[in-house]
Symmetry: C2
Subunit: 584 residues, 2 copies
């Protein structure tokens, strides 16, 4: 085995072309084995094996700096930069993260997990190099799917102006997570079909030099191309045509399903774990499809991640023109939704909590200043969501709840969610966002008749005294558990409140609590700073009411254990009950 002897990129350079091809086969085998047992980003990494070998053969990392976009395709790079054990030996699988990570290796320059950043970040490294009068190549690796993101397009535009060495490796596998959407992909196709010779060329139109490699999985062609641009003193795009999922037939055949995979049986391609449980993704698509049939102006919008809102390819087909994928372009997704709402349509944009972060300004300007009644639904915004540092869902409350005019709602059950969504789609007054709770979906079958248009009206679900527990979204049920424990410990039954509205205070209810309560606590599934609870503490600041805000410390967690984090933040029912009863 060659891979066992690769401890750094220098070891790659010692191999001849046949040996490099063998190395590629071994790496692909190791990836397949690890991913079948462990899960991870599948297709992008299988497609990039040869290009990664060729890069490390030609360039001299870490003097030459390689910056991976979104870093879904960085596993082969990790294998060649001293981290092979994490791919060869099951007991080491978790030694590395799924993304580039400077704390793992000097060959990684950024912790990256959001798309479309590599060109701009690489421009920064190149600029620093030039300011310091140093030498070396800077290589940005970006997939075709990431190219539609505004930051990537801005970066391509600026790169031409940067001057000096910058190599932009465009890994074109003709796929985003799902199929690509956008006009630029027609141009990429023209370029592929003309062997890079089409006169109209997006990269040249952005002011860049350009070369094309038709077989982006052929190590020899790649080595030739990279050698040609090495030490180039002008920014150049190297466009390579690769096969997503290469080497594993099911992944080559169904690229969308194999972008990311959980553990699976290599022989059959079948997943090891399956679940028929209803979840918020499926519920969303089913509800919207039914609503679309009644109303031709209802339209679902995604920015490159259709399945998070349940729109698998069959459901996208059913929706037809009433489903829009703008490509990875979150800003445009919000602006488009705002425009559709302004034009009298009924848009619903479904997005991961971590990716809605791209749209702060568009929510403010396009939606809220204009009071355009579009709906945003955020998924996975919870401690129970994704645990990689780049994909946390713990910032959406501070980010969104302080934007004027936005109505940000927190359902606790399927029934509340669908009632909110239905109201939001049909009303024409407010920009609305809905924060889906984390953890398993709760469905209690209760009919929800609340008029959501009566803003900031909380619901008292248990009337008690002395202490009031306001449990927002995911943590409403934690609040009810804590209330039970408080009652057990003190004999006093606390009041329990489901606030629903993240963006406003139910002043009447909070005033009313003063009569027979002296403690009010809040629980939220988000960073505390700038969040929901602080608004309650401000409200009661000048009164006798004691307040306690439960939520997460302001910090970036990484690959955490949920229960450990909950406990570290006093977010177990017994800790909450202890903290509250200490004030009795």
């Amino acid at each position: 085995m060659y891979i066992e002897n690769i401890n750094n990129p220098g070891d790659v350079k010692k191999l001849n072309i046949n040996e490099l091809n063998s190395l590629a086969a071994e790496m692909r085998e190791a990836l397949l084995t690890k991913l079948s047992r462990h899960g991870g980003h599948f297709g992008p990494n299988l497609g990039m094996v040869e290009a990664t070998i060729a890069m490390h053969y030609v360039f001299d990392s870490p003097r030459d700096k390689i910056v991976y976009d979104v870093s879904h395709q960085s596993y082969p790079h990790k294998m060649l930069t001293g981290r092979k054990d994490a791919f060869l030996y099951e007991e080491h699988y978790d030694d590395v993260s799924g993304y580039t990570n400077p704390s793992e290796s000097e060959h990684d320059h950024f912790t990256v997990g959001h798309t479309s950043t590599s060109v701009s970040l690489a421009c920064g490294l190149a600029k620093a190099r030039d300011l310091k009068g140093e030498k070396g190549n800077v290589i940005a690796v970006i997939g075709d799917g990431s190219l539609s993101g505004g930051e990537a397009l801005e970066g391509l535009d600026y790169a031409a102006e940067l001057g000096g060495n910058l190599i932009i490796l465009v890994n074109d596998n003709d796929m985003s997570i799902a199929e690509n959407h956008g006009g630029l992909y027609k141009n990429l196709r023209e370029l592929r079909e003309s062997d890079g010779k089409a006169d109209c060329n997006l990269f040249r139109a952005m002011g860049l030099d350009y070369i094309y490699v038709n077989d982006g999985n052929d190590i020899e062609s790649l080595i030739n191309a990279f050698s040609q641009v090495k030490d180039s003193m002008t920014p150049v795009a190297v466009h390579i045509n690769t096969l997503k999922g290469k080497g594993y037939a099911p992944a080559e055949a169904d690229k969308e399903s194999w972008h990311y995979s959980g553990p699976f049986d290599i022989k059959t391609g079948k997943p090891v774990y399956t679940s028929d449980a209803e979840d918020y993704s499926g519920v969303t698509a089913d509800y919207l499809l039914s609503k679309m049939k009644e109303d031709k102006t209802v339209v679902a919008i995604t920015s490159g991640t259709p399945t998070v809102m349940g729109f698998t390819s069959d459901k996208r087909k059913q929706a037809g023109k009433q489903f829009v994928d703008v490509g990875i372009a979150e800003e445009t997704a919000v602006a488009l939704a705002a425009g559709i709402a302004a034009g009298g349509g009924k848009p619903v944009y479904g997005v991961y909590s971590t990716f809605v972060q791209r749209t702060f300004d568009q929510i403010c300007q396009d939606m809220c200043i204009n009071s355009n009644p579009a709906t945003i639904v955020t998924f996975w915004g919870s401690v129970y969501g994704m645990t990689d540092i780049t994909h946390l869902g713990l910032q959406d409350i501070p980010m969104m709840s302080n934007i004027p005019n936005l109505v940000f709602l927190a359902p606790t059950t399927k029934e509340e969610y669908l009632a909110m969504l239905d109201w939001s789609i049909d009303q024409t007054t407010y920009p609305v966002a809905i924060k889906l709770p984390g953890g398993p979906m709760v469905s209690d079958g209760k009919a929800v008749t609340k008029d959501w248009g009566r803003l900031n009206t909380y619901e008292v679900t248990q009337r008690g005294s002395r202490a009031a527990v306001i449990g927002l979204g995911t943590f409403y049920s934690l609040g009810t558990q804590a209330a039970k424990l408080i009652e057990e410990k003190t004999g006093v039954k606390p009041t329990v409140i489901n606030p629903y509205y993240i963006t406003g205070i139910d002043e009447k209810l909070l005033e009313d609590l003063k009569k027979d309560h002296d403690i009010v606590i809040t629980l939220e599934d988000s960073i505390l700073d700038g969040g929901f609870g602080e608004k309650i503490s401000r409200f009661y600041g000048k009164t006798d009411i004691r307040t306690l805000n439960f939520g997460f410390r302001k910090e970036y967690l990484d690959r955490y254990d949920v229960n450990t984090v909950l406990e570290a933040n006093h977010l177990t029912a017994s800790q909450i009950a202890d903290d509250v009863t200490a004030l009795f």
Copy 2:
């Protein structure tokens, strides 16, 4: 005069070509007169007179919908859509805002003031039209300067895929606010120089149809071009070459200075009001230029607004390679700064508070998750800043102060600012942002020796008892005034604190205050929700300390009077003193 008889676009259609040319001359004259007396966006509007006339001649607004990007160029549109009086008669000058505004007219579809949104918003209107089965043209008007923004490039990419009618009018005057920066501008030049015939074409590369109009100030050519694309069933870019500032020699000669102008003498072009007072813009550039001479790795970054950080064209020349304008591309500006910091350079990105909103995700991911020690300086983030609804500076505290790992500082004087900036540039540990105060710059000449690396250490500037006044940034001096009044009213001298750090609590000091204080108030020049004061209220929530948070209600103000707004938010010294002494 023709303009006096134009009450709606229908009146434009009645004129023949000679009359339209006369109308253009009258409109230009009116613009010149109004802007010389009133100030406003100058160059962009003078360049768009003919194109606006031609649009209203060919299209049928409001059935055909025109969406202006950033809407710096919408004055001629306002003149032709029932709002001419606001340009003809001085007593009506303030009847209209400086931006498109649906509450003024059915011919405006969005309140727009940030760049690069028109294509995506127009896509929304077009999509709504198609969902509803309606007809009509949708026209996005975008300047070449706005094209470098990520949202605009995303929009161009998505537009091609939208299908159906969408006309993108690219108003190319070969200028942004300052000169253009980015590779795409080479392509625009090739297109202009080849009469639109160059094979490599950014718009075609984005999948759009394309036509070119070489004289974008010739009404007849424009009418022909617009007639050709009217009712087009595929998205098409109409690229017109206009002259920024056309018709006023000083503006044609110095396009940057005349992008926006205050009142001026028409004969000489000299401004009516001038000031030699030092301000934070000038101080920033001077400090950075001097720092750049000592240290070749210091680099100033702007995203298309160099003068906000004092970099007029002469100072940009002095800075040479140590000044970077990425074009209007805020996301890339932050990512570039993060990359430069990662590479060991010392970047300072200066940006209007209102435009930093584009970078929430980049601050989180590229700067803070990676702990890249870049510096952002926000200008005009204050009630004393810009008062148009689209340009408010009252959201940066909620937006930025809750991001983990960011050190967000609030100086109150020039001396504190420069000490913070100097520290931030040289330290290599923290991502830092500095929020400049509003109002006239205070300079007290005091040497500042504080070690800013001792995070979250507030300064007690007056030691008192019972009440503590924590005055952040701009409102520190308001806090000292309020403290004086409190002392006058009660005989008790309050403690006064300059907190400096927006992102953290000085727990030791706040604990210490408990000994001989029972009231703690906070003052901040920002929306209260998600802000600084709420963190103090949370801290004291379970104690006997009463807290009061002073700041602004969560709302979008528009063209406000500062004193009225301060009073409405209990932000005068006497109101604050009254509120505090009521708790004594």
